[in-house]
Subunit: 165 residues, 2 copies
Amino acid sequence: MRMSEGVEWGLHCCSFLARLGEGETMAGRDLAEFFGLPPAYLLKNLRALARVGVLRTTSGPRGGYRLGRLAEEITLLDVVEAIEGREHAYHCAEIRQRGPTGLDRSEYPEPCGVAVAMWRAEQAWRDSLSSTTIADLAELGHREVPREQWVKSKEWLGLVRARRA
Amino acid sequence: MRMSEGVEWGLHCCSFLARLGEGETMAGRDLAEFFGLPPAYLLKNLRALARVGVLRTTSGPRGGYRLGRLAEEITLLDVVEAIEGREHAYHCAEIRQRGPTGLDRSEYPEPCGVAVAMWRAEQAWRDSLSSTTIADLAELGHREVPREQWVKSKEWLGLVRARRA
């Protein structure tokens, strides 16, 4: 069971967009350049984030992406679900109802206990993802990134802003 | 992100095997019949469970599968990891090190904070899966399965035992 790489991309892009000034946007191709990612595939993921309101997009020559709401109000779960969907990872095919001893499905009013236990674990995962926000990641990034990279990234951001001015 | 159906199969088979008497085994094809599953594909999953000791297998005409240890000592996590592997669902490709501002990898002694947060959530999922055992599922199954199916399954088990005697 493996998450798509789009989740890593989405989380880092959101964390980067949290650094922008109010109303400022960033083109998808610039985000792709910053993280060394394939632009077309990154755009697909950014669009998925925009569809659920995690990102907002504006068109035009200075258009691009920005966070759709405050970084404090976007959780890791929001990003994961936008990219991976909201379906359970564990799918219950109700095999308890099959085979020579299975009864009519109306005899099983309650969900299967195996599924309930599996979904309880998924809920624990979701709860943990909900407890961290993009603001937390951005703050963490600021502290964690080597000072030299932080300086370089500010210079790079200046160049990108000049290019778009 | 979706788990393979083998997880559902493995959990139900283990729960069923918990009903057997000490030393008793059940053939893979009988388990497949009971749950209406494709025998060859089920066997692949049963073998994966045997490889990690969740199941024990004996050969010969009366051979088959039984639990590799007490049902109280096998957790849902044991079954999930046997089928799905032990790798993280979130894979960190260290994209923070890429692009025009990235530095040499030696400048990043600590794991990426985004990955740490994602793995923390996976640990919460694992902890929840570890808190339920096959004995819990078997007990739950006993209570949950409609009484009529429970009776039918005892009859079916009697037929299978007679066939193997």
